[in-house]
């Protein structure tokens, strides 16, 4: 068990791999260990340099036409082969829709433990990896560590900042492994019509819940969001029950951490709160003075969003003049 050495990073989303590299560098330094990134794809060698600049000492490059796009068994066989041969101590894997199940299967094949969706990572006195994650539907934060190695954790997007690239040297290791035959076949891929701006990137979010009476009334939020150069978001009922929005903010949807989050007509169930907890400032506007959202807000206004929003839009315009 002591023979496991080194910190490894992999994500099927390249930007997320860079974000994780920043944190992984800190951990590797504390362990005085080497930091490696696994790069899987086709004609992706040019990405290796940037990964080195973002902190990697070594890049394991698996470049093959069969690896051009994500396929679970193919990617798994590459990662498993490398991990079984070189025995890393820690593997940090991007917690995407494809990455998390991949980590779970890799951990199973290696007989390893896995802590998913870690938003914080540290080392304990015994230099074991400690991951922090939300649990019990957002009611709690659990700190978990590992009894065996490798220690595998998955990391969601935006948990860590992408590091400033530096001039560094690193080593590129081309790997040639037997790629497993896939058990599933991707028949069709349709890109989702999402706006180019991701809600996770917004500095200001004006969000609405059941308090919205008609779909057209979204305009009220859009006006305020426009004044604040922000985006409009919604809670889950407006997506699941009313179908007025396509994506929601919350534990099972998008987790956001804007500078300013304005919750309008949102009661504040724990699952929603779990998705906004890291916002810098939270404003709650709700008719119900007992709404739980006020317990997690910096500023609360008890009132009808139909009256408060237009007034607030004007008031902010005045402040900005």
């Amino acid at each position: 068990m002591n023979e496991n050495r080194g910190v490894w990073v992999f994500s099927d989303k390249y930007d997320l791999a860079l974000e994780i590299l920043g944190k992984a560098r800190e951990i590797a330094d504390k362990l005085q260990a080497e930091l490696s990134a696994v790069l899987i794809g086709h004609n992706v060698q040019d990405k290796a340099m940037e990964m080195i600049r973002c902190g990697a000492d070594k890049i394991y490059l698996a470049d093959d036409q069969a690896l051009e796009s994500f396929q679970a068994e193919r990617y798994l066989s590459v990662l498993y082969h490398l991990a079984a041969s070189f025995k890393p101590e820690i593997m940090l894997i991007g917690s995407t829709k494809n990455g998390k199940p991949l980590a779970a299967r890799l951990a199973t094949r290696l007989g390893a433990g896995c802590v998913p969706d870690c938003t914080r990572l540290s080392l304990d006195e015994q230099k074991r990896l400690v991951g922090e994650r939300m649990t019990y539907g957002g009611n709690a934060i659990a700190k978990l560590t590992f009894k065996t190695k490798p220690q595998i954790a998955t990391v969601p997007a935006r948990a860590f900042e992408k590091p400033e690239p530096k001039d560094r040297n690193g080593q590129l290791v081309k790997v040639d492994v037997k790629i497993e035959e896939p058990k599933t076949e991707i028949v069709e891929t349709k890109s989702l019509e999402t706006s180019n701006v991701r809600i996770e990137d917004a500095e200001v979010i004006v969000s609405v819940g059941r308090g919205l009476e008609k779909k057209e009334d979204k305009a009220l939020l859009e006006k305020l969001a426009a004044v604040l150069s922000g985006q409009v978001g919604s809670s889950r009922p407006l997506v699941e029950d009313r179908k007025w929005f396509s994506e929601w903010i919350g534990l099972s949807g998008h987790k956001v951490k804007p500078k300013l989050y304005i919750a309008c007509g949102i009661s504040g169930v724990i699952q929603h709160v779990a998705g906004i907890r890291d916002s810098k400032v939270i404003v709650a506007i709700n008719k119900d003075p007992e709404a739980p959202i006020f317990e997690v807000a910096d500023f609360g206004v008890v009132g009808d969003l139909y009256e408060v929003l237009p007034a607030l839009t004007e008031a902010i315009k005045k402040q900005l003049q």
Binding site: R105, A142, K147, I186
Partner: protein, 262 residues
């Protein structure tokens, strides 16, 4: 179509979980339990497939304490045919790998199947690891994040939602599919269905029935602590004579906080 296996979890009803504010400890022992929502969607989907294709048996399986029988009964009332409960005092500290080992052995013992359906994640721990781990142990094709499932002959086709795309994925059965909550609206069993379900069988197994030992399933993860997050919010209520005044005060406060750029 051979059997459909649905993995169920008796989860803590997180909406009714209380926190002890001074210690930030969670009062999990007193919190009510229920069938994990996502698993209910998986079971509903199994029932829909059976209604369409007929001639298949739906078996539910869980690793839990004996009080999880209530959850299994509910599943039987919804439309499952048979339920299996693995319960053993040796199962104390079990992680997602141990759970997957137990479910894998239980499923092998149940017999031949075409599909295993799981919830994408569980309501309480929200890990989302057991499904893929189980697929790996049983050497099955695995399709996660399913929002639509179509069975045709020996092939299952699944529409799955990714971050930026919707993918249609096909696999030869047997296969494991984990479902999202978008996939369907689970039925609520009628009194008649509940009555009829009381005659259905719940099979109880211990680890020895599955030729498993406590060591094999021992957790590789150690819980350091679990606490309610600190809420360090100002909780300032903005009041005033009228909505204009309130809006002005709020706007000024936001400028002072530095979250609105002049």
């Amino acid at each position: 179509m051979k059997r459909i296996i649905v993995c169920l979890k008796q989860a803590i009803d997180v909406s009714q979980l209380k926190v002890d504010p001074p210690t930030r400890q969670l009062m999990t022992a007193s919190a009510p339990r229920k069938m994990s929502d996502f698993d209910k969607n998986a079971l509903e989907e199994a029932i829909k497939i059976k209604e369409k294709l007929g001639a298949t048996e739906i078996c539910t399986v869980t690793l839990s304490s004996e009080d999880a029988k209530a959850v299994l009964r509910e599943g039987l009332a919804m439309g499952a045919d048979k339920a299996f409960l693995v319960n053993d005092p040796a199962v104390k500290d079990v992680d997602t790998l141990g759970t997957a080992y137990v479910l894998a052995e239980a499923i092998r013992k149940i017999g031949e199947f075409s599909l295993i359906l799981c919830g994408e994640t569980s309501l309480d721990s929200f890990s989302g690891l057991v499904g893929p781990r189980l697929a790996e142990l049983l050497n099955l094709p695995q399709i996660t994040s399913a929002r639509k499932i179509t069975v045709d002959g020996d092939t299952v086709t699944v529409e799955r939602t990714l971050e930026d795309a919707v993918e249609a994925v096909k696999a030869k059965m047997p296969a494991l599919v984990s479902v999202t909550r978008e996939i369907n609206q689970p039925r609520i069993p009628s009194l008649m269905m509940i009555m009829r379900a009381s005659k259905k069988e719940i099979v109880m197994w211990a680890l020895s029935d599955l030729k498993l030992e406590g060591d094999k399933i021992a957790s590789k993860i150690e819980l350091v602590e679990v606490l309610a997050p600190k809420t360090e919010r100002k909780k300032i209520k903005i009041t005033g004579e009228n909505v204009q005044e309130i809006a002005d005060k709020l706007a000024k406060a936001l400028v002072q906080e530095g979250v609105i750029r002049r």
